[in-house]
Amino acid sequence: MEIERGITKAMWGYDGNLEPLYDVEDKGAEIHVTFDLPRVRKEDVEISTTEDTIEVIAKMSNTVCWERWGGIQKRITFQAFKKQIRFPVHIDPEKATASFKNGILRINLPKMRREVLVGID
């Protein structure tokens, strides 16, 4: 999982996107992912999935501008949150579900797997 990398690198870039705080939980048959998206409305969240990735782009309702902060950047503005997460297992993108409440986006991603019952001799 990318969790470790996700929390050790800087969470902002010069492209106007801010990396959201997120949490990934492996629930066995499903992967649960949540994102903290302050200043975002439900209709401004875009989620796309492939068999092993999920990407969230969430436009903020107003631009965040940090001035007089830091040595190099001095002034930086952000318009959206953006994050792509790659999973070590295949998921079933068609069966993914999502909900958004109080600024938290929750996505449930069922794992793609073939279950075979093993008989006991």
């Binding site: 929390i7 969470m11 801010l18 705080l21 949490d23 949540t34 903290d36 302050p38 409440k101 938290i104």
Partner: protein
């Protein structure tokens, strides 16, 4: 070796303390304590009265309005003292830090030490108003909690700076309580901080209104992202997972 010497409390100015209530709002789950403590400092206009230094802390200073400051600071007046930090507490600093703080609280004759923190709630997303639970370290603390009708945590483990703060206060014969508001474990939680302040108000009676905290919740969440990220990184070493475990002597 006296571990307390590893951490030094540096007082600035000369406050004549009048048996103050001490609030500890160090970074932990949901940054509940940090958000609540910094909001109280802002609303009450408390002055900076000292800072904490230690070779165990990361080599970090913070700049505010062009002025260089320690990220571990103490605010307050003769009646209320607030301890907060703008960086995560390194796990190896927890014991000497809490010991040094408890020594200092004893020296200023604190009448009560209140740690504000969070209680991770799996279904936090569905909780409109987080509830607050409490832990007390002695009979006096338990009586205070009962008088103020705060729900008690009856069984379970507590882990992190606040847990050891309780123990160090017991050793110094100081009454200590922890107020734990239901929170998101890894996201800054101004809503939980608002609940914690409402509970804290039962003890402080300062008239701190949380309306602005709720209005500014999204802005606070954005500002708190980096500290939350640092704090989440040290959570496993702080044994935070144990808080979900069942003690073998559970009754």
């Amino acid at each position: 070796m006296n571990m307390g010497e590893l951490v030094r409390i540096v007082e600035e100015g000369a406050v004549v303390y009048n048996n103050p209530i001490v609030i500890e709002g160090l970074p932990d789950v949901g940054l509940v304590g940090t958000i609540a403590a910094s909001y109280a400092v802002e609303k009450m206009g408390y002055k900076e009265i000292g800072y904490i230094e230690s070779d165990l802390f990361p080599p970090v200073m913070v700049i505010h309005k062009g002025k260089l400051k320690s990220p571990f600071r103490i605010y307050g007046d003769e009646n209320v003292v607030i301890v907060l930090s703008e960086v995560a507490i390194p796990p190896n600093a927890v014991y000497p830090l809490t010991e040094a703080l408890a020594d200092w609280f004893k020296a200023i004759s604190a009448k009560l030490v209140i740690s504000i923190t969070g209680l991770p709630a799996k279904d936090r997303m569905d909780i409109e108003k987080p509830e607050v639970f409490a832990v007390g370290n002695n009979e006096d603390a338990m009586k205070k909690l009962k008088d103020k009708q705060v729900d008690l945590l009856e069984e379970g483990f507590i882990a992190g700076t606040y847990a050891i703060m309780q123990r160090e206060c017991s050793k110094k014969d100081l009454s200590a309580i922890s107020l734990l508001a239901q929170c998101y474990p890894v996201y800054p939680d101004p809503g939980a901080a608002a609940s914690a302040i409402e509970s804290l108000e039962k003890f402080l009676e300062l008239g701190i209104d949380v309306a602005e905290l709720n209005e500014r919740a999204e802005e606070i969440k954005l500002k708190a992202r980096d500290l939350m990220r640092q704090t989440a990184l040290s959570a496993p070493e702080m044994q935070k997972d144990v808080e979900q475990d069942m003690p073998i002597m559970y009754q």
